[in-house]
Amino acid sequence: MKRSSSRPDWGYFIKEGLTGIKMHGLMSFAAVTVIAACLLIIAIFGLVAYNIGVLIDGLASQNEIAVFVDENLSREEAQALQQSLESVPNVESVTFVPKEEAFDIYLEMLGEDAYIMEDLREDNPLRDEYRIVMKDVALHDETVEALKEVVGIAAANSEKEISDKLMQMQRIVNAVSYTLVALLGAVSIFIISNTVRLAMFARREEISIMKMVGATDGFIRIPFIVEGMTLGLMAGLVAFFAQWGVYDYITEKLVESSGIFSTVAFSEIWSMLLPIMLASGIVIGILGSVLTIRKFLRV
């Protein structure tokens, strides 16, 4: 019984795998394009979700709450609230911000457009406020409620509501992303499997001869897995660069048009994104080719 198990000849496997891609150049090109498009769509949603996540994290880490003093109170009465606020549980520090100062801060925030509001200085529409820093961010909701209970406090404001809205949005984006991963992932695997099937069909003669002379299934399989994997890898690479362009374009437009949205720069995420894209491509390639090969090699 000859069971020579010599080391695999990778040069041969790779050469054969690439031959398949060249042989069906147009088909391979189409497959790479469509899969790259699928990966791109998934990645766009993924990055939207990622950006929302970063925003939420940013907001959640802000443990400051602003409470506003009832405008019917005099300045002295307003300043007297300091002690009652300090006695609220979970309060770390309390800083009084008179409405004049609040107005300055507001103008500063507006920057170049501040002159529009300058006229209002005499008739300041803002209220005196307190900036409160919490000890424990986890007790946020309870603390806000307790602060509102303090007599003379008209309203409490925090980033919590925006954060909640964002979280809701994140859930939706996540759900869409997962659906897309399943759907477009399946489409991509199907495309790879079809391309590899074509390659195997074109070489069925060779395959049957290889089987008759005693090539193992593994040996016959490898060039086709290499083919599928290479197609997937190319799609991943194309999708990465496309993503780069699309992402930069979108973030630029977004920042231009709203000014308030802060986004993560591509330079900060590419090193995370590239391996993910390439790995996804490879996984799709392997799954697609293995599915086809299993069917083909039976008998």
Binding site: M1, K2, M212, V213, F219
Partner: protein
């Protein structure tokens, strides 16, 4: 060694009883002709020996493998012990003669170093050394067949099986082919030739197994005299 013991083969499609309790033993180093009319089950035997089929009933032993219950993963290793020359050659059109032969060595994982030595040697043996760069369509029928033989030989199998190897050869070429097969047999390889060319068989003093309707009806050395006996 090849041994069939009381083997039955019924094809699912059509329910044809191709083999009906056939028994046959071929020792290492033998040169055997298997003859019989069309449809008698000759090719079916070859398919059993290479595990393309499993016997419906009976035992088929080939070079230490039990075909009746060979695991799927062992089939490649069985096939490396036999070299089959098909009637239609089954060469790969877009590979050169050299590549057609080298490719089956690669398929069993032979290193390039060995392939480079072995392929020219085998091509020399079949008399095609100077045509190794040609493509199959640039060869005559007889030459294509010799490529097929070289390919069957190259992995140094224990048995060479040729199914109707003289099918499209003229008589002179057929004799040449038999001389080649005898040469291969002389190097220690068991040779099994399936044919229905009586003249050819009668020219050689070899063991002849005659098959009809899936059973052995005659097994003797020295020619195919069946018709004369009747």
């Amino acid at each position: 060694m090849i041994e069939l013991q009381d083997v039955y083969q019924v094809y699912n499609e059509g329910g044809t009883h191709a083999l009906n309790g056939i028994s046959l033993k071929i020792d290492d180093g033998e040169f055997v002709f298997v003859v019989g009319p069309s449809g008698s089950g000759k090719s079916t035997i070859i398919k059993l020996l290479s595990a393309e089929l499993r016997p419906t009933q009976g035992r088929v032993h080939v070079n230490g493998f039990e075909i009746e219950n060979i695991p799927h993963k062992d089939i490649p290793y069985l096939r490396r012990t036999i070299g089959v020359v098909y009637q239609d050659f089954r060469l790969i059109d877009n590979k050169t003669v050299y590549e057609n032969v080298a490719f089956v060595m690669r398929a069993v994982g032979a290193p390039q170093r060995i392939i480079k030595k072995r392929v020219p040697y085998v091509l020399e043996l079949v008399g095609l050394k100077n045509k190794s760069r040609r493509f199959p369509h640039q060869l005559s029928g007889g030459e294509q067949q010799r490529v097929a033989i070289a390919r069957a030989l190259v992995n140094n199998p224990d048995v060479i099986i040729a199914d109707e190897p003289t099918g499209n050869l003229d008589p002179a070429r057929s004799v040449e082919l038999m001389t080649l097969l005898e040469k291969i047999n002389g190097l220690g390889t068991t040779v099994l030739v399936v044919t229905h060319e009586r003249e050819l068989v009668n020219q050689l003093e070899k063991r002849v197994v005659a098959i009809e309707r899936g059973v052995v009806i005659s097994d003797r050395t020295g020619g195919y005299y069946l018709d004369e006996e009747k």
